[in-house]
């Protein structure tokens, strides 16, 4: 009799555990399917396709490492694309983070209208990337745009902005600085979280404004700064829409063919970033194998860059006890 009870209990427990496992599996099932079909499979397929020649019509043909060799030695465009993307990571991302931090720092100092300023600085972030880019190509229009008109009142001849190989990337940076709202909001929250008493005791110890920034503010907000840099770098690696729209609308003079993809990188390849080249190779020229090889390199670089940033910053990023 007792033995039977034990067996019953064990069976019941097993049944409960089984039911629980089924519940977890059921709840997770959308993601399991999604992860397999839209992430796992394409990742493996990318690796395979990167060793083939494939144009979507005939079957993929195995070519070994030819795609990678072409990338390294022969592709006339790729080094320019890599250089441009690196430029974004080295100049544009830090500039945006510093600017967002500065704006947040100014908003914190406001005695009145904090809510108003926060809304105003956030608003441009809401403008869809296509809309914001179209707006900036007009505002920075060399001949009749408001910015150059404004500069001409002071006798300054404005640059050609999106029309000039030197100024096209800085124009995109201006566009990026306009849309720092998200970073600004998290910096603002972080700055408001810094304990006031730290500032007061630093002040009593005779620390000036710069010293307080260096020894109180920066350590306290460093995790958020790191987060903003990582997100910024990842976004820089996939920078696409703004460059595509700007080059296709500005480069769309009568001289160019109707297909906007032929204007990618206008002017003179100065806005040809890595993802644009990948798009052009894969979906305009249908060099699917080569585009896959580029995708794999992008994946490896994205992973490595994130890892390097996080590793190297352990030294200066300060996590408060109990906070992760």
């Amino acid at each position: 009799m007792p033995r039977l009870q034990v067996r019953d209990r064990r069976a019941a427990r097993r049944k409960a555990a089984w039911r629980r496992r089924r519940l977890v599996l059921g709840l997770m099932s959308p993601w399991i399917v999604g992860f397999t079909v839209f992430f796992g499979y394409p990742l493996l397929a990318s690796v395979y396709l990167s060793f083939t020649h494939y144009d979507l019509i005939s079957h993929p043909r195995w070519v070994g490492t030819a795609n990678y060799a072409f990338m390294l030695h022969h592709d006339p465009q790729i080094w320019n694309a890599i250089k441009n993307t690196l430029w974004l990571m080295v100049f544009a991302v830090p500039l945006q983070v510093i600017f967002a931090f500065g704006v947040a720092g100014m908003v914190v100092r406001a005695k009145a209208g904090v809510g108003f300023f926060r809304t105003v600085f956030y608003l441009p972030t809401l403008a869809p990337a296509v809309a914001a880019t179209l707006g900036f190509t007009y505002i920075l229009n060399p001949a009749t745009g408001p910015v150059n008109t404004f500069l001409s009142w002071f006798g300054i001849t404005g640059p050609l902005w999106f029309e000039s190989p030197t100024w096209a990337k800085p124009s995109l940076v201006l566009l990026g600085l306009w849309g720092i709202g998200n970073a600004m909001i998290i910096f603002l929250a972080a700055l408001l979280d810094v304990p006031r008493h730290l500032y007061e005791s630093a002040q009593l110890d005779g620390a000036g404004a710069l010293q307080r920034l260096r020894w109180v503010t920066l350590p306290a907000v460093s995790p958020v700064l790191l987060f903003a840099v990582v997100i910024g770098v990842i976004e820089a690696l996939q920078y696409f829409t703004q460059a595509y729209v700007a080059s296709s609308i500005v480069g769309g003079g009568a001289g160019n063919a109707a297909d906007p993809a032929n204007r990618l990188g206008y002017p003179e390849g100065s806005t040809m970033f890595y993802p644009l080249l990948l798009y052009q190779q894969g979906f305009r020229f249908f060099n699917m194998g080569y585009a896959s090889a580029m995708a794999i390199v992008l994946l490896v670089v994205a992973f490595a860059v994130t890892l390097v940033i996080i590793r190297n910053t352990r030294r200066w990023v300060h996590y408060q006890a109990g906070m992760r």
Binding site: V33, R109, T125, V130, L134, Y138, T144, T149, G253, P275
Partner: protein, 303 residues
């Protein structure tokens, strides 16, 4: 925070320093503080003007005649209100709006329906492999879209769905990493006692999810729905890839840049269309500001 103001000179008189009483600071200090406050606000106002100026210029240009956009004048004279209707005559904007709505609404529903249960399993249930699964979710969030674009394009083209909105909508019905992440973060903040009380009352996990957690997580769900909608509304790469060749399925983001003559862009019409494209987003923001701020501070990024 008056970080830059001078230290209050209490140390000058040690006798007073011991009996620390907050007194009205001397006149010179007060004046310096006032000047700093004025400087701060001047900089802020200048910055605010710079942030708002692009909107103003876009709006003004949208109301110009074509001739005026080619001049250096900044103020429309006369105001050319008929641009509002002209853009609908010149391009099938209603068609694009309908497509954008189909994409955005179906995606939003899909993201909510598929991400909520996953986030629940990743936050409120304990099981082996949970942390590993969560790490995988985070990894997919960090992955550039271009990495998986080629095989997915091949897959959709084999299913003969390239040229339609289906490749954009369907993936959203299988869990969206960012939404799962945001919902999980919020679910973790709901005290376990609520679920335990429901369990004592004999509720199963599904009932707890549907009655207790969903009700308490309304702000997070609103934020996720909002971000999913905006992502689809703003998306450019997806529609370009899958509907670029088939103008009947273009979304607004693709259709905006077609106001041009053979030689130049028709800036007034382009700006009018751009403003009409932005307006719902900004209206949505002011209507649901709380959900926005909640979502941004919870995760640090917008979807």
């Amino acid at each position: 925070m008056s970080t830059a103001s001078a230290p209050v000179p209490v140390a000058a008189a040690p006798a007073q320093a011991t009996a620390f009483v907050r007194r009205r600071p001397p006149r010179a200090v007060r004046r310096k503080r006032a000047l700093i406050a004025i400087a701060d606000h001047s900089i802020l106002i200048a910055l605010a003007i710079m942030f708002l100026a692009p909107f103003a210029f876009m709006l003004l240009t949208a109301l110009m005649t074509s001739d005026q956009t080619l001049s250096a004048k900044l103020w429309p004279h006369p105001f050319h209100w008929s641009n509002v209707t002209e853009i609908f005559d010149k391009a099938p904007l209603w068609r694009y709006t309908l497509n954008t709505m189909i994409y955005a609404v179906l995606s939003t529903i899909g993201v909510l329906v598929s991400s909520i249960p996953v986030a629940y399993a990743l936050s409120r249930l304990r099981w082996r492999g949970r942390d590993a699964a969560f790490l995988l979710v985070l990894a997919t969030m960090m992955l550039p879209a271009q990495v998986t674009a080629v095989p997915l394009y091949v897959m959709w083209s084999k299913l003969h769905l390239v040229g339609s909105l289906a490749p954009l909508i369907i993936p959203n019905w299988f869990g969206d990493a960012f939404s799962i992440f945001l919902l999980r973060q919020f679910f973790l903040t709901i005290p376990e006692e609520y679920s335990d009380a429901a369990r004592v009352d004999g509720c199963g996990e599904l009932r707890i999810l549907l009655t207790v957690v969903l009700r308490l997580a309304r702000p997070a769900i609103a934020a996720v729905g909002l971000f999913a909608f905006l992502y689809a509304w703003n998306d450019f790469f997806g529609p370009l890839l899958y509907t670029g060749e088939n103008a009947a399925h273009w979304t607004l983001s693709l259709g905006l840049s077609q106001f041009r003559t053979q030689y130049q862009v028709e800036w007034n019409l382009t700006m009018m269309a751009t403003i009409l494209f932005m307006a719902p987003v900004i209206a949505l923001f002011f209507a649901a500001q709380k959900a926005f701020v909640e979502g941004v501070t919870l995760t640090g990024v917008k979807g």
